[in-house]
Subunit: 718 residues, 2 copies
Amino acid sequence: MKKYFLLLYCCLTVYILHAEDGYRLWLRYDKVDNSKLLQQYRNAISYIQFAHASPTLAAAKEEMIDGLQGLLDKKILVQNSTENGTVLVVTAADSIIYSLISRDDLDKIAIDGFVIETKKINQKNIIVIAGNTDIGALYGCFHFLRLLQTQQNIQQLSVVSAPTVQLRMLDHWDNLTRTVERGYTGMSIWNWQKLPDYIDKRYTDYARANASIGINAVALNNVNANATILTKDYLIKVAALANVFRPYGIKIFLSARFSAPIEIGGLKTADPLDAQVQQWWKKKADEIYQYIPDFGGFLVKANSEGQPGPQNYNRTHADGANMLADALALHNGIVIWRAFVYSNETNEDRFKQAYNEFKPLDGKFRNNVLVQVKNGPIDFQPREPFHPLFGGMPQTQVMMEFQLTQEYLGFATHLVYLAPLFKECLDADTYTKGKGSYISKVVDGSLENHPVSGMAAVANIGNDINWTGHPFAQANWYAFGRLAWNHNLTSAQIADEWIRKTFTNTQPFVNKVKEMMLVSRETIVDYMTPLGLHHIMGYSHHYGPAPWYNSAARADWNPTYFHKADSAGIGFDRTATGSNALSQYAPEMRKQFDDINTCNENYLLWFHHVPWNFKMKSGRSLWNELCYKYYAGVDSVRWMQSTWDNMKGIIDDERFKEVKMLLTIQEKEAVWWRNACILYFQTFSKMPVPKGLEQPDNSLEYYESLQFPYAPGIGGNQ
Amino acid sequence: MKKYFLLLYCCLTVYILHAEDGYRLWLRYDKVDNSKLLQQYRNAISYIQFAHASPTLAAAKEEMIDGLQGLLDKKILVQNSTENGTVLVVTAADSIIYSLISRDDLDKIAIDGFVIETKKINQKNIIVIAGNTDIGALYGCFHFLRLLQTQQNIQQLSVVSAPTVQLRMLDHWDNLTRTVERGYTGMSIWNWQKLPDYIDKRYTDYARANASIGINAVALNNVNANATILTKDYLIKVAALANVFRPYGIKIFLSARFSAPIEIGGLKTADPLDAQVQQWWKKKADEIYQYIPDFGGFLVKANSEGQPGPQNYNRTHADGANMLADALALHNGIVIWRAFVYSNETNEDRFKQAYNEFKPLDGKFRNNVLVQVKNGPIDFQPREPFHPLFGGMPQTQVMMEFQLTQEYLGFATHLVYLAPLFKECLDADTYTKGKGSYISKVVDGSLENHPVSGMAAVANIGNDINWTGHPFAQANWYAFGRLAWNHNLTSAQIADEWIRKTFTNTQPFVNKVKEMMLVSRETIVDYMTPLGLHHIMGYSHHYGPAPWYNSAARADWNPTYFHKADSAGIGFDRTATGSNALSQYAPEMRKQFDDINTCNENYLLWFHHVPWNFKMKSGRSLWNELCYKYYAGVDSVRWMQSTWDNMKGIIDDERFKEVKMLLTIQEKEAVWWRNACILYFQTFSKMPVPKGLEQPDNSLEYYESLQFPYAPGIGGNQ
């Protein structure tokens, strides 16, 4: 017995020493530490059985063996007969499914949902995991493992789950040189040099992680695209990745450079109405499908921030998108066309430009086109009102674009849980078809009965060992997948799951850390851009505060363009007396923001130029409220620090220390944001920082002098 | 008992699943799988005792606990008393050392060597690990662990070991943007963005790995240097790294940009004889030592490939180096001045230029200057004759510069064990003080009794999980450290150690894989640059063959400059009838190469322009011999492939597959090199590929058309 414990000790020692580097993400299958539940699980699970074989079910089998053996700390046998304690995995390809699962449930789960049910057949207690397809069954297996990882009771399982959105997608802004635009976690995980012959284990683990949360599509390369990815040499490399991803139900998309016919095709034009251009793309599509039979399609950033597009030839975005859509249609490919456009040459409020550009094109896109719209009208700020194109293009399949990489939210050093940001947008009511016209229903296609729907997020993944740099940034990848699958989940539910899978089921830890996560987004809004401030970060690299910056080549890249602070007040008047951007929303929505006195204060400076003395709901002046918000943000980070310090010893030291160090950086940078912004805006308000608050310990000149020539995430666009 | 095995199974399963990603390098402490030896070890080792405490001994203690508990699979207690089975670690700070270790041995081990001895004191059987310093003791601990890792008998230990070279150094060519010049394994491990507050676990593991092989100095940044590293913001970050490295005995050096006084100092000049410039560097040195009290010094690339230097002001390299040396002297800092210089403006053979430049400066450098010379006269080719500056500057402390990153040896995809390359150079006889004037003796200072000696290697480390990309590239890091410690070790000894520590002690595996490693360097010479060919790789990125390339901005960057193939023959005449580079060597050395008929054929085309029909020692014509060599190289890779395939099952599947995939790439690229070079040189020789050899399956035009715009390892110099 002593020997037994000694062995246990040593194995676990070695194990702990090498395993808590974050590489495993939420796919951790360590032994269940609740002995009662462990007994329940062990009693219920001894065998797995697959009703048929396929590459996807082989992946499911491997995951189930690893997962169950790890969690249950016992040998799991693969059987061809059904015994007591069998987990039986079936699909519509197995006739037995109809004796196990109701037609009704099978209808509900559609293409890639799943059912998990506790059953008794031939006196044997078994658990059935069923999908209409192999992928559905795979998703069911991952969900079953999640139940054990989160220590759920599995005695009477009856789970029916199907995704609300069809295309659940990650967009990588990865360049061919392996730099990542807005990437803060090392290099791109795509090692083009070693592909196609070297298949990094990471590719499989990436596919596993995505499949475990239902992500079924990825765009591999930067939307600021390089046409070279469409050449044969690279398509062969892409195909090798597609082969890895296929069993996990993940389709590959490529960002297509609109001028590719010129750059790699030798044509003189990329005019979408030119027959040769159309022919070139058709041939290119045919070639791609030769290498990648299940190729997803193209993601396109056109006529935006210097990218070429149809407007170079006086054609519309619809002309461009449709031309590509036609090239892909034969192969059931899809074009995802980004609506992130704004021009330097117009004086129009940048907020309004995408809507102005795309609204008139509503109804003009092919069936296999999705128009991808960022959640807000500017650019992934800590808080934005929703983009007016949601609900604004009823005849168009509008896809959501979120950003996981924290370009404007502290890079990979700030703990910010983004689910509340995503939910805030998804749960917003556009009112475009009356009350209840939620963005979630626009995006999942149900509001207008669109056949194709999608939700994308710009990935926060790099080749850091733990994938996302900050251990908590993994939660954002996770939350995005879960919400794309089911936007009715709450931020708290998802955080709860993630914490249990990633760290521990220990209740005080789960509770406290969940609290930290749930408060973290409001915290960063407070210390960066409270009360509706936006786009006041450092130029180009976007690192740290620079509300004073006013030297960008384009006016609409300058913080001063957005905050408009002056002696009278601060904020962007987007009511009828100003840019009237509010007119792009439905009247019910508009009404919530139109009146400075009733406007939700979270969005106040998005829509109003507000006097410094304006009386806020708290009774404070705007200036004082602004100060209190900035200080509250810093205080909240400090609360997160002390909360985390109390977690010492509950989890492994490695990740504990990592997060502790990162919170130290976050606190420093929160103070930096607070001080720099307060000092700068004070030059307009001429009012003091309220008494009782710690006074900034550096001068405005100091903050203005800071330079970050090698801030990460810029990269070339190659 | 059944439960016991089940538990064992599960623990090991989990363990193996997550641990064989190569991150642990050779510091793997898995349970000894030889039961007899395990018993011996367990009997001999139960406790560790440290005679005093210090940060370095704390690091030693942690390593010993982890290592011994892992290897012996038993609990190791730290004690303050000496029991049977104690490993006692002592230094000259502990008076007891003199009763345990002879004065003679303590003299032998000097500053950082160690003694390991089996002893009996007070009837207790113990093992003593002794150093004069804490660092010496730490090295002794690592060596002791190595004995167990490699399954040595430890019953009567009597080891006395001291390094032959003082400065055992890694040079990182890492930029502040985290790109790595000539890096093929991801990004720089230095995360400047997160420093100084975030201390990546990698920094400690890097220090451990280096200390385990005796490396005691690192230059953090690219020799194509950015002055920003010398600013306060970055020095604070560097200091944080220095704090991590200090307990492990590792000093930090920085590559200093010679024009820093202009770029960050606001001066108008960087003239080394200018008083203001001298003052600026003195102040800068004082500042650096405030942050990093044990700062090593500067590494400088000056007036080389576009870098600024003293010649910009008509001063000599000695003027530049001495000015910096004076600034550092007060703090005992060192200047490492690179001799890798060659000019575009002269018609002189590039081979000769560094010698011509530096030879006249012999004796003119300060005592705290080392002149760092690459092993060969051109640039880290698969095979070069040794650099004539070795032995050519007897009054100068000449330091060796090897390259671990495989810039010219297949990047991180080819299996090439470099110890034979290093040894070939170190064991070469310069004859400059008569027979036996080996380069090893030049470098370790013994030939001329120099007080300071050093050996550096350009690191092959990046943020790939396994550090070096190719699992076998770890062996080169390891071998360099071991040879810097003791250049008398053989390539086979080091390979043997490394295989046992990194993979397994299973004898057939050790034997076969060692055989692969030992043949691998000759193999790459054969398929890339046989018979003395050199510098015929792709332009700029150096990926793949391009002997035809002739369009570089500088003549001496063109392959055609180096191979000089024409209808008469091939090779660079460096005898008296040609550039007479041979005149830079001692007469005995020269004699070995001067005569085309007796010249060592490994170097033939380095020194002679040889007719295609020239009869080689094999009896074949030069052309046929060239062909046979190229084909033999490919055959050898294929032999490596089949040898490796036979290793399946002996080691973990993860690394087995990784190496297998990499060998597939290596084979393809070996064929590419062979075919491209043969086809190209055939346009001059007009002779057929000998019968019986597989004919190239692509045309020369095909090979010439290949483009690699995104080949890795170029990066900016920021």
